[in-house]
């Protein structure tokens, strides 16, 4: 697919790299030639120019692009670039980065942007609405993600499916958990009322396909899927019960830190550390219950004063990876129960996760899903990149009927998925069904597929499985 990315900052460059890797034809646009020089070797075409100027869009080949992603650091430029692309080139899909959270409240969103139907049928287009099909806000998405992780203590990753009715989580098994040292089938005896499905187990970084007889070992990373209300019961089988979190310490009062504090302060006891005294005055006015401290998050004295040894979770979310990592390691050493660290640089994530740092949160990981959805073929509602891109979880709609679809009317054990892919669950209307072999796929089921060792070929195969035959009439 031809894709134009406007803005070669952190988000744009990471996206370009990721999408080029998936064999898409990428053009990257930035107003500064220097930006491109500092980028590693990317297999993409580059164009220098202003993202919101018609001549730049033309030079970048927007007229041939099926998708334009505007991720410059200005909301206004991104929004205007999308309008231009639609008006001048009728671009079929437009994604913009929108940092200002005002745009993203559901009331404003519904009144400002074109409705979803307009993208497939222009007769639904409304006068004066902005043509932006998807609004992404890495800051908001990272915040949501951290809030979700805090809500399921003990989990390393959480992905929502079918509007949150089903969740897939990753938990590291710890000896002491009732199921650790036991076979997977024993889970049914332990939790007779809970239906869950283990999608994959990673042992020493290698995926093993779970079977009934598989014995869970200490340190296994277990991905399982369940109804949201059952997640904590299953998690408790894999580790000694993690008490709910109560005291949270946030390092960094920027875009993410302040959002996080305001989301959390109603439910937890929240403290925040920010270096900039001016910013802190602002924060204190905006936040109701959060205790705001001025200083350096990597100062042992300040951490001590903030009661680090009684802190359940330390979240380092400043805009510097290095500062986040150092502060987190220090906080962990000083007694914080769990540390979560915001890390942009993917290479660092591999370096630190599993050491002193419990959970590395990557903004790319949080954002890529909403973009992959538009890049993949077929009715793909969600695509979560897991284990730093090595695995993926997809929510696909079974389109068509028994005649035109390769999955509809078949039982799950008769669906020929590539090696390492498993159907974790099926969501049918309000019902969440675990992916047991006997389940028969019906039209419009949402099928949740987990792919343990991702490759482009396997992803294509899965997409193809769910695409209706060529003679299917929409």
């Amino acid at each position: 697919m031809k894709i134009v990315i406007l803005g070669a900052g952190q988000v744009g460059a990471t996206l370009a790299d990721r999408l080029a890797f998936e064999q898409h034809d990428i053009t990257l646009v930035d107003k500064s030639r220097l930006r491109f020089k500092s980028l590693p070797d990317l297999d993409v075409r580059t164009v220098v120019g202003h993202a919101s100027s018609p001549s730049t869009l033309e030079a970048a080949g927007v007229d041939d692009a099926e998708l334009v992603i505007a991720v410059t650091n200005s909301d206004e430029v991104n929004l205007v670039a999308c309008q231009l692309a639609r008006a001048l080139f009728r671009t079929p899909s437009l994604i913009a980065r929108v940092r200002n959270s005002e745009y993203l409240t559901s009331d404003i969103e519904a009144r400002v942007f074109q409705p979803d139907e307009a993208w497939t049928d222009t007769s639904h287009a409304k006068l004066g609405r902005l043509w932006v099909q998807e609004r992404i806000s890495p800051e908001a998405e990272v915040t949501d993600y951290i809030v979700k992780l805090l809500g399921q203590p003990g989990t390393l990753q959480v992905s929502d499916f079918a509007g949150g009715r089903a969740q897939m989580v990753c938990v590291k098994a710890v000896s002491g958990g009732p199921l650790v040292g036991h076979r997977l089938v024993d889970l049914t005896d332990h939790l007779p009322d809970v239906d869950t499905r283990v999608a994959a187990i990673y042992r020493r970084d290698r995926p093993i396909i779970p079977e009934g007889n598989t014995i869970i070992e200490h340190d296994d990373e277990v991905f399982f899927i369940a109804n949201r209300k059952d997640i904590s019961a299953v998690t408790a089988e894999l580790m000694e019960t993690d008490k709910p979190y109560r005291r949270i310490l946030i390092a960094g009062g920027g875009n993410i830190g302040s959002r996080l504090a305001s989301r959390l302060e109603g439910k937890y006891r929240v403290q925040l550390i920010e270096r900039d005294a001016n910013k802190n005055r602002e924060l204190s006015e905006r936040l109701n219950k959060t205790v705001v401290n001025t200083g350096d998050a990597s100062s042992p004295k300040l951490l001590e004063e903030c009661g680090i040894q009684d802190t359940d979770v330390f979240c380092a979310v400043t805009n510097s990876d290095e500062a986040n990592i150092m502060a987190s390691m220090l906080a962990k050493k000083m007694g914080a129960r769990k540390v979560m660290t915001l890390i942009n640089n993917a290479a660092y994530v591999d370096l630190v996760q599993g050491g002193l740092i419990d959970i590395a949160v990557s903004p790319e990981q949080a954002t890529i899903g909403s973009i992959l959805r538009h890049v993949r073929r077929g009715e793909i509602l969600q695509a979560f990149s897991l284990r730093r891109g090595a695995a993926e979880a997809l929510e696909l709609v079974a389109v068509g009927d028994a005649k035109s679809s390769k999955v509809i009317g078949k039982t799950i054990d008769n669906i020929n998925l590539p090696d390492g892919a498993t159907i974790g669950a099926v969501v049918r209307g309000e019902q969440v069904l675990m992916g047991h072999n006997y389940i028969v796929i019906e039209p419009n089921d949402h099928v949740i597929v987990f792919l343990a060792e991702k490759s482009q070929r396997k992803l294509n195969d899965i997409e193809r499985m769910f695409q209706p035959s060529t003679d299917f009439l929409l």
């Binding site: 031809k2 077929g378 193809r464 695409q467 060529t470 003679d471 929409l474």
Partner: protein, 158 residues
């Protein structure tokens, strides 16, 4: 098979040497050419682009061997209508075999398509999906030859 392609493929609906340099542009230009041929209004042309694009989002209609069969329902027609476009240059079309596409067989069916229309759709896709069709269709240089070649192939193979 009890229908003849000549009922749906008029001589004015074939276009040898059609220029388009990307999948996106090809769908737009095809829609605008078809709207001209059918003398439908501008709104219908817009909806036609939407319809063809929406179908491609579900999965490419590039059936392999350089041939694609974009199709959708359209308010502009009350009977199915078939339009052929031989492209001057092959373009990437996300085809099933990954090969670029240089022949488009576009089929419109009425909004309330019936079983006969769907059968025609299947026959057209099956026939032109036959690798035997490729060389003769691409060799045609004039509309007359392309039209006759397509109808002959359909009668022989469908």
């Amino acid at each position: 098979m009890n229908h003849s392609l000549s009922d749906y493929l008029l001589p004015s609906q074939v276009h040898p040497q059609f220029a388009a340099k990307s999948k996106k542009r090809a769908l737009e230009m095809v829609a605008s050419q078809i709207s001209d041929t059918l003398q439908s209004d501008e709104d219908q042309a817009e909806l036609l682009v939407d319809g063809l694009q929406a179908r491609e989002r579900l999965g490419s209609t590039g059936i392999g061997q350089g041939i694609a069969v974009p199709h959708c329902r359209s308010g502009a027609v009350s009977e199915p209508s078939v339009h052929l476009f031989a492209l001057e240059e092959a373009i990437d079309f996300d085809a099933l075999d990954g090969e670029p596409v240089n022949f488009l067989c576009v089929l419109l069916v009425p909004e309330d398509a019936n079983e006969v229309h769907l059968q025609l759709l299947r026959d057209v896709i099956r026939t032109f999906g036959n690798p035997e069709c490729r060389a003769p269709l691409l060799a045609a240089r004039t509309p007359e030859v392309l039209h006759r070649t397509a109808i002959d192939l359909f009668e022989r193979l469908a």
